[in-house]
């Protein structure tokens, strides 16, 4: 088996056993990245730096007890890395190299992670296809004519293509889970507050969460064991009840799993429905109890999400004004002109659209009808989930209504793109843990994802059910056509 087909934990074991050195692992990743430049998964490939770092790692060194010691990984380009360019895939950040690491990066470094580079994404994580990147679109390793999903499209594509063994991304409305589904890998948005957002460049702070993308649920658990936990620099971060990895038993006997009927209705592609229902059957065969129920509040997720996310974005992105970091427009006579020119030229169309939408829903006269109403809908969605979790331990839904669309197919119609987030955004509104796992392929050979949703702080049962599924199936082990030889 090629190294690129290993899971992160398997590669970590191989490194521990001396089957390969961290530097050889880095070289294997760089070789794979070199073969797949057409995927455009990296904005910055930090190969030399990664090799130097890998050569410093020694058996028994600091962090060597981590099962991911020496395993090469990638970081989404909206997560700060000290001294490595962090662009949010936007022109406005220019060549900005942060003077500090994000909390999650700091913890991974302490555990012996080796960062191969910064991963492409939708500009400021706004998009569902990774086509809004200033650095060009990412292509899906399963079919380069199709999108990898978004906004963590570079992360999902790079893991699927075997360039890195895991990635950390961010998920505001599905940005980890949806690209994981389109690329046939596993991605998890943990409970809101599980991972510190310090150093994550904010999109919508009440919804943003950092999480892992990797081949398997066990890999995701191992990454979370490193990055989760309270951090004084993020006052919403929570105490960590880990570790998760040693508690993944794959035991789901007696687990009650609910299938919300609203997620299996019109608009869901038949092949996706069949694959997700088949996943439910597999969990059933391991002893879970599965039943359908109704959750009508889910229909209000997309409008509530886009109002809240855009409102927060309009405020958060006010800091990009050509003064403190990044790029500045030339030839401005006064401060207002400097702000306006820099922002007008520096932001792409989707970012402008969301800033304008957010400014509108917060403006006098419209606040009550849109923003306040959306916050009330959020409260009702949260209550609906609370009620569901009185009966069920977990919920199972599709991740996306279809498999990956072709490049350019949805970009022309923003509303259509927003609607495709229907199954993922309610999870962010309610702050819940949600995981996307590969559960089959459509007739074109494109991956299909199933989503497991747990109650607040129910990250362990979510990962455990996914682990149980992955003990029975090998969808997460499949490599894009021709494996490494794309």
């Amino acid at each position: 088996m090629e190294w690129s087909a290993y899971t992160a934990l398997e590669l970590g074991t191989a490194i521990k056993e001396g089957a390969l050195s961290p530097a050889q692992a880095v070289q294997a990743g760089l070789d794979a990245a070199g073969r797949h430049t057409h995927l455009n998964s990296f904005i910055t490939l930090a190969g030399t730096r990664a090799l130097e770092r890998a050569q410093q790692l020694r058996p028994g060194g600091a962090g060597a007890e981590s099962p991911l010691y020496g395993v090469p990984m990638g970081v989404k380009d909206n997560i700060c890395t000290k001294g490595i360019k962090t662009t949010c895939a936007s022109m406005i950040l220019g060549d900005f190299a942060p003077p500090y690491d994000a909390a999650a990066v700091e913890r991974l470094n302490q555990a012996g992670a080796v960062c191969l580079g910064k991963l492409n994404m939708d500009e400021f994580a706004m998009g569902s296809t990774t086509e809004t990147s200033y650095y060009g679109p990412v292509r899906n390793p399963w079919d380069p004519g199709r999108v990898p999903g978004g906004s963590s499209g570079g992360a999902a594509a790079a893991v699927a293509a075997g360039e890195i063994w895991y990635a950390i991304g961010s998920d505001t409305g599905g940005s980890i889970r949806q690209p994981a589904a389109f690329c046939g890998v596993t991605g998890m948005k943990p409970t809101y507050g599980a991972v510190s957002r310090y150093g994550l460049i904010a999109y919508a702070s009440s919804l943003d969460q950092v999480g892992p993308i990797a081949r398997s649920a066990a890999d995701c658990a191992a990454v979370l064991d490193v990055i989760a936990g309270r951090d004084r620099r993020d006052s919403t971060s929570l105490e960590y009840a880990g570790p998760l990895l040693p508690r993944l038993t794959g035991e789901v006997r007696g687990m009650r799993i609910g299938l919300p009927g609203q997620c299996f209705g019109d608009g869901l592609n038949k092949e996706v429905r069949a694959a997700v229902l088949a996943a439910a059957e597999i969990l059933k065969s391991r002893g879970a109890r599965v039943e359908e129920f109704s959750m009508p509040m889910l229909d209000y997720g997309v409008p509530a999400y886009y109002i809240i996310a855009c409102a927060e974005a309009s405020s958060n992105l006010a800091r990009f004004d050509g003064v403190k970091y990044g790029w500045r427009a030339e030839g401005c006579q006064d401060l207002t002109e400097l702000y306006t020119k820099t922002r007008t030229q520096g932001f792409g169309p989707e970012v402008k659209r969301r800033i304008l939408l957010g400014t509108f829903v917060l403006s006098a006269g419209y606040y009550d009808a849109y923003y306040k109403k959306a916050l009330q809908a959020k409260a009702l969605i949260k209550s609906a989930f609370d009620l569901a979790f009185q009966t069920y331990d977990l919920l199972l839904t599709p991740v996306t209504p279809t498999t990956a669309p072709k490049l350019g197919e949805t970009l022309s119609d923003p509303l259509q793109m927003y609607l495709s987030d229907v199954y993922t955004v309610p999870v962010n509104l309610a702050g819940l843990p949600g995981l996307s796992m590969p559960c089959g392929f459509d007739s074109r050979g494109l991956p299909i994802g199933a989503q497991l949703i747990g109650p607040l702080l129910g990250d362990l049962p979510v990962l455990n059910a996914a682990h149980a599924f992955q003990l029975e199936t090998d969808y997460h082990r499949r490599m894009p056509k021709g494996g490494d030889a794309l």
Binding site: F96, A97, P98, P99, Y100, Y192, S206, S235, T236, L238, D299, Y300, P303, A304, Y306, I307, S314, A318, D321, V323, K324, Y325, G326, W327, R328, C332, Q333, D334, L335, L338, K341, R343, T344, F347, P349, K352, I355, L356, L357, T359, F360, S363, A369, Y370, K372, K373, A374, L375, Q376, A377, K378, A379, L380, K382, P414, L415, Y418, L429, G431, L456
Partner: protein
């Protein structure tokens, strides 16, 4: 919800964005279409529902007022487009 051109101009000014004339009409149509869709929320009965900003109830946590190391000024200024030794430089803002 109908979006008049004046509203697009107004929120653009608030956002410090200046859309070129050629992009304004398209943005107006798109915003209108998106906001029309969001009007489905009107059908939701929210009487008496408290707006929710954060899902996890947070309490203020007090800590001792201690001096902690922060970022180095020079390192922070290094990322700015036009800094000098101690400040961000901008065009004159007060006459």
């Amino acid at each position: 919800m109908k979006i008049a051109q004046e509203i697009v101009d107004y929120v653009s000014a608030l956002s410090r964005l200046s859309l070129p004339e050629g992009e304004k009409a398209a943005m107006q149509r798109e915003l209108e279409k998106i906001l029309q869709y969001m009007d489905v929320l009107e059908g939701l009965d929210t009487a008496g529902v408290e707006p929710m900003s954060h899902v996890i109830p947070l309490e203020n946590i007090m800590r001792e007022d201690r001096v902690m190391p922060s970022q180095d000024r020079g390192e922070l200024l290094a990322g700015a487009p036009v800094p000098d030794q101690e400040a961000f430089l901008t065009p004159k803002s007060v006459e």
